[in-house]
Point group: C2
Chain length 414, copies 2
């Protein structure tokens, strides 16, 4: 089936999905979770074939790791669907209400967007996360995964669709685009009037293509050049733990930290100890002059390092004289994903959270919490690095629009 | 000064504006209001020259009317600035807050967007409305008005900038693009990284150009093909008043009604009386077969009529058999601006507000209330006809982004 037909079908069922009850959607999500478990053997078999082909083609270890499903991963996909099912229903939520002198009562009410499309890479769990969140918010969804995962995605989507059908929902509320060609992705980007929101979860080439070609509304899930700033008033042991966690717990993801900014008062013993520990954990350290003075094995950080999302065991380190210098650095080089400050000084914390221009700002916590699951959304559609509509981790609520409902008793305008 | 330099200047002052206090911005707005009054004579003189040139060039009465300022209009511009000043400060507003099992407290907090640009037509009052709302939300703004109003806009902007300066704000927080050429508008649309939001307030040609050329984020203020549906359970006299008001009180604006949908139970006497009254008010009536049976002087409505925003004393009338038929018609032909239902039946009202896919839905009130001032925002940046970020009338709050602020006590991710 071509992209055009997939979009038309999504549009056709979107109204029924939008008008379904919250209880109905919750039951459908539970049905999808059950069907996923019932189809586990087929899913693992399909995934095994994808993995074998990927290994044969010489894909990187990271790609193969992201692609590989196992019983435990299928179980965590099921858990995500159930966590999404248990979220409060965003549809119909009255987010504000006020009454005008005219007697009109105005409500701002959440409504489904309609049709949501996601283009993503070789992670089969995205298939369940996106399908679950879209349905929760009353939207039909179109999934366009990577060709590397096509068997896995098809097996997962077939399970989800059978779960939907069993719950009395149109199976076409969740559709997978079979055609993994670039032309198909382009057609999807240009399906204006059929797709209400497109979220690209991929690298720079995909984002550039979206920015150049898309005629449908989109939200960019972009780079994560994340920062941790260790203030003069940081609790040293807490600072050490947060830096270690943010850099090394999972370096390949967008909320891992890439640049460490340290107040000059901690630029001697504390910094040396912290960088030694990072190095012991396998991290390559690149520093400015003062950082290298504290830790001579560090190589020299260049202008390019400040702007780089390594996604690897590399860290850039800069010593700053003040909070202002740290904020300026982050606002200049950051990508609006996640930034943290470690401090016991409330004024520093307050200025940091206000003045740092980023999707998520953390006080005394690891940037690794910039994640829909960690925020309590059950899963995530992506992490928005733009300012309009939604910033940071996006759950079901971010897949709604807010319309105004105005209640009168015959008012006319003078 | 070219567009590039205007944008660079806006970017430079945006941080200071974003970090200013709510009290400071309120005082600056009052300073702008005072300066507007103090410059009234210069503004009226400049406007007189614009109006004389427009008349000489044979511009339409509507354009000349929109362009013309008088003491009363300057006074209403002042009042809008003061109403905006009195709004609650949106910057720093915590819209949600929750705590996770990890002990992390997550807040969603409003923050300024940065630099907001608006391209608009020959209404000098838009200059004050936009400048006021942008400043209220902590944003710098770039105003690009029509060449027809260039003297008026310059006089108004000069007054606003002197008011800003007197309050200790950088005058460049409000800038007017002097160059009214198409090339300048194109440059503004393509100022990615400098402009955080562009709102076009203009006709279809401008919107098409934005959709084709813009690289900056934008929100479309589009057409208003608005509907009123008179349900079988409508209070007849209320229905009559609302239709008359929505069609005739100011037919040239986007929230005036264009199509009247009437339940077949009211398609005889009530409809005849209503259409006679519209005709007496100078409205040309175009109807479907059943509407013409009730009111034979009506001409025949074509498919094109259902899709037309007349912005004039013309109405299209269709008789429907059910609420479903009315909702389907609106969702097919509407432009997501404003739609109203007149009914005493609560179930009908509930289904209408939920199932009609529009920015604003009204129950027993005129569509003419779809307006930032009427919603209580003091003024409006425009009426969004898209779904992402904001729908319907946009005030200062819609000129903010919402970031996540996460408060921890040393949490790291396992």
């Amino acid at each position: 089936m071509g992209v055009g037909e997939v979009c038309e079908r999504a549009r056709r069922v979107a109204t029924a999905v939008a008008r379904s009850s919250g209880e109905g959607r919750e039951a459908a999500l539970e049905g999808m979770a059950d069907a996923l478990v019932a189809s586990r053997d087929e899913i693992l078999e399909a995934n095994g074939a994808d993995v074998a082909e990927a290994v044969e083609r010489g894909e990187s270890r990271t790609v193969v790791d992201r692609l590989t499903l196992a019983e435990a991963r299928v179980e965590s996909m099921r858990k995500s669907l159930e966590a999404v099912a248990e979220q409060p229903d965003p549809v119909g939520e009255v987010v504000e209400e006020w009454t005008r002198p005219s007697g009109l009562t105005i409500q701002r009410v959440r409504a489904p967007l309609g049709v949501v499309a996601v283009i993503y890479e070789a992670r089969p769990n995205v298939t369940t996360d996106v399908a679950g969140l879209c349905l929760k918010a009353g939207n039909a969804c179109i999934l366009r995964g990577s060709s590397i995962a096509h068997r896995s995605n098809q097996a997962v989507a077939a399970a989800l669709r059978s779960g939907l059908g069993a719950a009395g929902f149109p199976a076409d509320a969740v559709q997978l685009v079979g055609d993994a060609s670039r032309a198909a992705a382009l057609e999807l980007m240009r399906s204006k009037g059929l797709v209400d929101l497109l979220v690209p979860r991929g690298g720079r080439a995909l984002i550039k293509s979206i920015e150049k070609n898309a005629t449908v509304p989109y939200i960019i899930d972009g780079d994560g050049n994340c920062h941790v700033y260790i203030d003069a008033a940081a609790e040293p042991e807490m600072a050490r733990r947060i830096v270690l966690n943010a850099k090394t717990q999972r370096p390949s993801v967008c909320n891992a930290v890439e640049t460490l900014l340290v107040h000059e008062r901690l630029a001697s013993d504390w910094l040396r100890g912290c960088l030694e520990e990072l190095a012991a954990a396998g991290v390559e350290v690149r520093g400015d002059e003062r950082a290298r003075k504290a830790y001579p094995p560090a190589s020299e950080a260049s202008e390019e390092d400040w702007a780089t999302e390594y996604l690897d065991l590399v860290v850039a380190v800069r010593v700053v004289d003040s909070l202002d210098e740290a904020i300026d650095h982050i606002n200049r080089y950051g990508t609006s994903n996640a930034e943290a400050v470690v401090t016991q000084n409330d004024d520093v914390a307050a200025r940091f959270v206000r003045e740092v221009d980023s999707g998520s700002v953390f006080v005394n916590a690891s940037t690794r919490f910039s994640d829909g699951g960690e925020f309590g959304f059950g899963a995530e559609i992506g992490i928005s690095t733009q300012k309009l509509h939604a910033r940071g981790p996006m759950g079901a609520r971010e897949l709604t629009s807010i319309k105004s409902v105005v209640w009168g008793t015959g008012q006319v305008r003078e």
